[in-house]
Symmetry: C2
Subunit: 261 residues, 2 copies
């Protein structure tokens, strides 16, 4: 065996534990973690201790529970400001949202998932923060499909394997074959549509953000609700969307190109 299945040493294991705690989404006990951990008891125990020491996790001694640590917020602030598309994309997203009068999302890809890094909605500017950092599946969102469609074949295969293909709604493309066909269409068409595939009543049109060399670095979407608009209405916004994605792509070029494996 060469090229271990995953996990680089102790650090890799520690990150796996972080993910696990994060996946619980609420303070969690040692034994709950142990129950579905690949690690033996003392190993998990020490990893948790180390991470807590480091402020990556927080431990509540009264309830004996672990949750995500505050240090992550500081580190992520850095990531968000410097490493994502946000700083470049902000002005373009704002102006697109104002032109079309609907919510605009900016997303990047992280380990098979779509990660929303910014959002702008004309009416309520509220939940920007609540949205940033949120994740959604790749196979059933507009932004997800737009990114998947324009990946290299190797990246795409790897990502398609990571999808759950759970049918969130009747419209969800819930198997790989259907998705692959759709991706081919998207690649030809240039934009992806979400026809209530993730959430009933929510539709969107999404465009990949490409660098001049054709590398996908993220996606922008215009999202709306079915009781306001139909897919055919979104289709009319395509030129604005493409222009926005294009501007971001060009500027991202001369800035920074993140890597996903």
């Amino acid at each position: 065996m060469f090229d271990a299945p995953n996990g680089d040493g102790t650090v890799g294991k520690a990150m796996q534990v972080l993910d696990q705690v994060s996946s619980f989404g609420c303070p969690v006990r040692f034994s709950e973690l142990l129950a579905d951990s690949p690690f033996p008891k003392p190993t998990l125990y020490r990893l948790l201790q180390t991470l807590t020491n480091q402020g990556m996790l927080a431990f509540d001694p009264e309830r004996q529970t672990y949750s995500m640590g505050i240090r992550l917020v500081r580190l992520a602030h850095s990531a968000w400001r410097h490493s994502s598309l946000v700083p470049i994309a902000r002005p373009h997203i704002e102006s697109l949202a104002e032109t079309v009068g609907e919510a605009v999302h900016l997303a990047q890809f992280d380990n098979g998932h779509v990660l929303f890094v910014d959002k702008y909605k004309v009416t309520d500017m509220f939940d920007t923060l609540a949205q940033a950092g949120k994740i959604a599946p790749g196979y059933c969102t507009g932004v997800g499909k737009a990114i998947l469609a324009f990946m290299t074949e190797a990246q795409q295969n790897r990502s398609l394997d990571q999808q759950s293909y759970k049918a969130y709604t009747p419209a969800t493309l819930s198997d790989r074959t259907a998705l692959v066909a759709e991706l081919a269409w998207i690649r030809k068409n240039g934009v992806a549509y979400d026809r209530e595939e993730h959430e009933q009543g929510i539709i969107s049109i999404a465009s990949p953000i490409l660098t001049s060399k054709g590398r996908v670095v993220g996606a922008v979407s215009i999202a709306t609700s079915t009781n306001r608009y139909k897919i055919s209405d979104l289709k009319k916004q395509k030129p604005y969307l493409l222009k926005c994605a294009n501007l971001i792509g060009t500027e991202a070029e001369s800035w920074q190109v993140p890597t996903w494996s």
Copy 2:
């Protein structure tokens, strides 16, 4: 030697590297990192590789630079939603901001620094996200002093050692003795004032958030600018501020108590 000065094993070192990259605040080359790294070349090299593999860092192959990884944004989202005071404090902060008509900040402590986890300003709801995750020094901010004043002696000593005591403005308390005296006063008085100690023209009144057992878990502040108000005006808001801090403290009690060492 027993009990190493800091750093738990490989994971600790990896986190140190993350911090270092974060402190650059922009994409950074291997050699720049190496220049002020305590680690020898191959060690640093491998840590960077591991972290990049894990998505905690992003590597731009064209420019050969590292920056913070997108995975952190996902992890921090979790932290922000579940482990901070934000979910409990939100409504109270909003209502305080509306009562007093000024910007209200919510902060927690992270490794000697003040970490802003939420902000509410009546007029512009814009930069909530831009603010969350931001850090500021402990010794020269209202929230920082409020938290320091109410720590246990052990925590306080540890934190006082971590301050830089840099004089940001003429009003900055730029040595430990002066700060200790001020903290004693704050402890007696119940609230801390920032008299343009961090930023010229910005003043604030801050209250610690205490649990019923007297444990500090964060701080709230009302901040304003000197061309609108004076410290004596802020003093009048003290009862509202205390009430808000108190409500948050009580609710935080029955929720979750994070640990800082």
